[in-house]
Symmetry: C2
Subunit: 473 residues, 2 copies
């Protein structure tokens, strides 16, 4: 399943189908709204022939996309028209909410067949989503070996190498020659994974000692020993976090890597195409975490979305209520000079922006290991200098603008100093908050923003109003 | 270069080297600070033997990492100790600033050799970074065919499939048998790419008509025709944007894809390992763009960082200056009731957070094509309902808190209504700003935040103070 089985740009298709394919997808590979309504119409009419024709023009990945654009009723009607392979692909691509709904409506026997078409990692994910009753039914309807493979995969923790890996792997002993290996593959083709890139060379204890890329096997003489052409491998242990796995693949530009158990024995492999999904996922998680929202999914209901955002909003309300205590303390000053109330949000807002900048850069640098224990002191120092410099420039610009508008030198000085102080504090908070969370073993993207916003708002009000009471009043 | 050539977990290495390898990298695959200072010490002492030993314990990717932790002087001293292959790998991994500095200090002949070790896409990137004089020297020092390949790659636009692809590709005519193909590869092994996963089957006009994965070739009988076992391919045209290419690879779970010119002829291939870098890059760009900062790079100087952040801070200053005009218009009200100045930042801040949430979700959904023309109306409507609901809940919580603190029902009502209005406006701005930018063909992540912050601050002040003047005063 890690490869196209049919395709939009597929060649050697009858021309009428190509027309339909052209109609299906727009320039940007998104489904055309017209095509989606064609499908919906065919479903309404109960026109099975047209439906089959329309679905046949789509890659399974696009059928999964299509499901997202249809109503729940339409989805339910569509499912019986899909073959097990397409259904299998779709199940591994669908958003969690739609998948759960689809899983409820597919008969156990059909599900067992569809899951049989999937790789063990994807299959385990789907089975994991089934309710206890249905899970038992589906597993019972599967061949013994497939069931065992899925149960073993499910025994590993979520988001670890063990869950990510395929158990299907090609291994060969060191003493085999290229010819022996090729003859073996040709004879036992049935037992091999559908697609593989590396042959892992193992010792008698089944520990990987090297890998031979298939393309190297292909161009080496039949009499050459595998041990002669094998390359060193980067082993991944089953319990490694998937984010670490992605980092290793990216850093060392791996195509595939053997996964070993705690005893060092080969138990599976991870290929780079599995990593693409992980990297997408981790990047999305960081974006959403920084914005203080969890992903409710494309087809989440309004309540799910509200629930994914409200906690952060209420937390923000609470911290802001604390921050405005700084204003409360200077009521007298504001009553004397209302201009202070007009200017103070500027100090808080620009500080917030500066803090967010430092925070985003730090979260990215931590994720790519550019910021580590080896250089954190230097990077923190640099951020603070940057804070002082940005604070000086922004303060200068603002003091000139203030003087032009209010003709008050002391007011100009007050806001310039307040901006300098707040941008320095913003830089410090923006880098120290994620660093501290990372040291504590927490996700540096989660809850950093709420802290940075709190600090920059509080310091924005406090520095401006405090300085005003010293300098102005 | 798309594969480990040496490795930290490398097997069959002498034990003393393994110790050094263990010392080099921490649990999280980041370089140990002790190891970095060992290298710096060896450089200071001019201890070439120790240096060679330390470097030999590292994967080229870790040497690139190491460069980032060393001072500019130390880097310059280290370069002569690197072999061309390591230097080639490093050049394709280094951050732009360090790379430019390194490129200045490496003699042209050494550079030509290092670039010769790289794939054409990476090689072109490095050559592109050279200054005109040096570029001419380096190209002159390279063999004719390598030079031509690099010049052709550079003719394609940056961030397109043409720049991303390797020109090295394995093609075979449809009428070949598996046996003919294998014999050919074994005989002409020298001319083949170092590593390949698919053989592209081409027609007489060199247009791809299908692909045979190497693992399928291996297990098919020698007499089978390639045309019988080939699978359809997804063609990528040379001028496709790299973000689109990454989307296609992710969606259809491709391992490799043929790249064709405008006439449909095969000119190269893109493999999924190239895509991992693109996805990382695009995700990072979104995070930084949403925070209003460009990546100045790990080793950017303070001035570079200031320049990467100041424009957005000044823009924020300007929009905020406009937003506070709303406060200016209600000076009289604030003078009468200073409590208004204390509460108004809360309305603005929570609105800003709600807007950021909607924005981050929209940017992510646009990037993954979950939000398209086919469902935008529904998604916008859903966001607005969510805005109203969150506004109601947050407004209710805040009105209770306000009543407890100030015992003023009308003040409670005012802030509740203001929060409701602002969270509704925030939701609308958060979804409509990125959608509009996307429709205009712009990057939805860039400049959306500044707009959303402006709208939520302006509306926060306007709605709260305006309602206060109607209800309270």
């Amino acid at each position: 399943m890690s490869r196209e089985t049919d395709d939009l740009a597929a060649v050697a298709e009858p021309p009428e189908d190509e027309d339909l394919e052209d109609l299906a997808l727009g320039e940007d590979y998104a489904l055309n709204p017209e095509f989606v309504s064609d499908v919906a119409d065919a479903l309404d009419r109960g026109d099975a022939d047209r439906l089959r024709e329309l679905i046949a023009a789509l890659h399974p990945a696009d059928v999964a996309d299509l499901m997202g654009f249809l109503s729940a009723d339409a989805r339910e009607e569509l499912i019986p028209h899909l073959d097990p392979e397409t259904l299998g692909w779709i199940l591994s691509e669908l958003d969690t909410e739609i998948r759960e709904e689809v899983l409820e409506h597919v008969p156990s026997a059909t599900l067992a067949k569809a899951i049989g078409e999937m790789e063990s990692d994807d299959a385990a994910d789907v089975v994991d989503d089934l309710e206890a009753d249905k899970r038992a039914q589906v597993l019972a309807a599967m061949p013994e070996t497939e069931r065992a493979a899925i149960e073993t995969t499910l025994a590993y923790q979520d988001e670890t190498a063990g869950r990510l890996m395929q158990r299907e792997v090609v291994a060969a002993p060191q003493f085999w020659t290229v010819g022996q290996a090729i003859d073996h593959f040709r004879k036992d083709g049935e037992e091999l994974p559908e697609l593989f890139f590396d042959i892992y060379v193992v010792d008698p204890a089944y520990k990987p000692v090297g890998a031979v890329p298939v393309s190297h096997l292909l161009r080496s003489g039949r009499q050459i020993l595998l041990a002669q052409i094998m390359e060193p491998v980067t082993e991944i242990t089953v319990d490694l976090d998937q984010e670490e796995v992605a980092y290793i693949f990216d850093k060392y530009r791996l195509i595939s890597a053997p996964v070993v158990d705690t005893a060092g024995r080969l138990v599976g492999q991870i290929t780079v195409d599995d990593i693409v999904g992980v990297i997408q996922e981790e990047g999305e998680e960081d974006i959403l975490a920084l914005a203080g929202v969890s992903d409710a999914g494309r087809d989440a209901g309004v309540w799910d979305i509200v629930r994914s955002r409200l906690p952060w909003l209420v937390l923000n309300l609470a911290t802001e209520a604390v921050a405005v205590q700084a204003i409360n303390a200077f009521q007298g000053e504001i009553a004397k000079l209302v201009t202070l109330a007009i200017l103070m949000p500027i100090v808080a807002s620009v500080g917030g922006t500066a803090g967010t900048q430092a925070l985003a850069v730090a979260v990215r640098a931590l994720a790519s290991r550019e910021l580590t224990a080896a250089n954190s002191v230097r990077i923190v120092g640099r951020e603070m200098i940057v804070g002082l410099m940005n604070g000086s420039v922004v303060g200068l610009v603002m003091s000139v603008a203030t003087y032009v508008l209010f003709h008050d030198l002391r007011l100009s000085l007050t806001i310039a100093l307040a901006l300098l102080v707040n941008l320095f504090v913003a830089a410090a908070a923006g880098i120290l908050a994620p660093l501290t969370l990372e040291r504590l073993g927490r996700d540096p993207a989660v809850s950093s923003s709420v802290f940075v916003t709190f600090v920059t708002d509080l310091m924005g009000f406090l520095s401006f109003l405090g300085l005003a009471s010293l300098i102005l009043l």
